[in-house]
Amino acid sequence: MKKRIGPWQIINAIILLVVTVTTLYPFLNLLAVSLTDVKYVSDMSGLSILPKEPTLKYYQVLLSAPGVQKAFLNSVFITVVATAINMFLTIITAYVLARGNFWGKKLYIIFLIIPMLFNPGLIPNYMLIRNLGLINSYWSVILPGAINVYYLMLLRNIFNGIPKSTFEAAEIDGANHFTMIWKVAVPLAKPGVITISLFYAIYHWNDYFKPLIYINDPAKWPLQVLLRQFIVDADKTSLFGPLQAILYSEGNSGLPFRGLQSSIILITVIPILCLYPLLLKYFSSDIMSGANKG
């Protein structure tokens, strides 16, 4: 049944257009500022989305700064290792909770849910990392979030949706749990598995707080901490190192804060924008609503 497009439909579409522009415009402005020649940056209007005398100067300077390069690699390392651990643990645990009919299962689920209900707060977590001797180690950032219970339950429900007969057929063929997990469950739950791994990866890429409080050595900081130092504390030292920071300080030969700010924000965001289409492709609202069932 095809409805005619009335005036309300058009107004509706226009309002949503305004909403999307409000979301995108700040980024277009930052992009324009980040590409504008050093001379003009301070005169750039916050409303402008066209760069003046386009240049890649900021990106060249930032991407060749040792602090930024190191931080970028740190972020990639943390994200990849942590997501791999996340997925391994989440998949095997979700498989057991979906398939296993074992004694104590209800109790085990309560065991998993209690930490979701009660948050002991910042200091007990900090003390744990300290007592484990993980301060200044990448593991202090990677291990505390090794399983997200919400994603675990999501994946359990997705595995539950796989017909029992599929597993039974594999069982008759002599498949063990290992084969059942990696050859049956995971391939059949591909959209869910990809969506959840992207959620985990984006979480780790965006994490700034754990590295901020657990890692004291600036050489081990991920990009988000560097960005925070720059934006919140206006600290250029961690970007360029102490010597270059003086060189790039505001003044005759310096790079203006606004230009650096725009480009470092975009450098931090671009990896997420690269993963985002993949997320849109595999994500659907039934994956999310699956978490409320079962």
Binding site: F118, G121, N206, T268, I272, Y276, S285
Partner: protein, 301 residues
Amino acid sequence: MSTLKEIRKKIYKSRHYYYLLIPATIYFIIFHYIPIWGVTLSFQKFRIFGGNEWVGFKYFQELFSSPTFYRSLTNTLIISGLKVLIGFPIPVIIALMMNSLRNKHYKKYVRSVIYMPHFLSWVVITGVFAAILSPVSGMVNEIIKLFGMDPIPFMTSGQHFRGVLVISEIWRSSGWDSILYTAALMNIDKILYEAASIDGASAWQQTLKITLPELIRTMVTVFILNIGFFMNAGFDQVFNMMNDSVISVADIIDTYAYRIGLLNNNYSYATAVGLFQGVIGLILVIVTNKVAKKIEAGSLW
């Protein structure tokens, strides 16, 4: 009733499942249950060398007589309240508007744009808002200047800062939060609409009689669950956006605990702050989830 022997047999039969649960179990004990036990620090005096000394409720007495603590509690309630009050209806409206879009490609475009900010960190969003709200060159102040008014230093003005928190939260989450309502709208059986239009119900009547009741069920659930998280006014957001000039209107319980604990190293006192927040949070989540279950609109799990 199963006897001990039967249970033992059953456990043996499914032993491989238990083996597969070992890594997760170790993880939860170390990284969740030890910190839960760790709240006992709030009843102890912390010592770097030697054992801690039990001091009873000393730190809680300190806490409940501290004006800064009450300030952080008030700020938490006000900021949470504003976010729920102003932010709550917006995802519903967005979902309804998206639902009545006819063009598939346009719908896809809107969806991919409005979900996006949810995937950005608060550090990035702080950077973006610092840029667009800057009194010198920010987008918002450029517009204000077009109307011939004086620019407003939003990020450092105690009068405007809570507004910044609410707006940036809406900007970041309302698109993503609309998903729940979109899913609810999609779950409504198409047959209901067809039957209604055969009976001569107008589009408006259909919205009123079919769409709205289903939406309200979801709204009630989401609202109740939001109340469950009322004690969390958004640590990552406030922590990154707050500065000294707005601390009196922005300092929430979490940022207070951070300052006391990790900047002043007053571990026991900060643990007491966290425990207070955790206990209230626990009560809120349990009560609200019970209520949500009663309304039969679903529950947390």
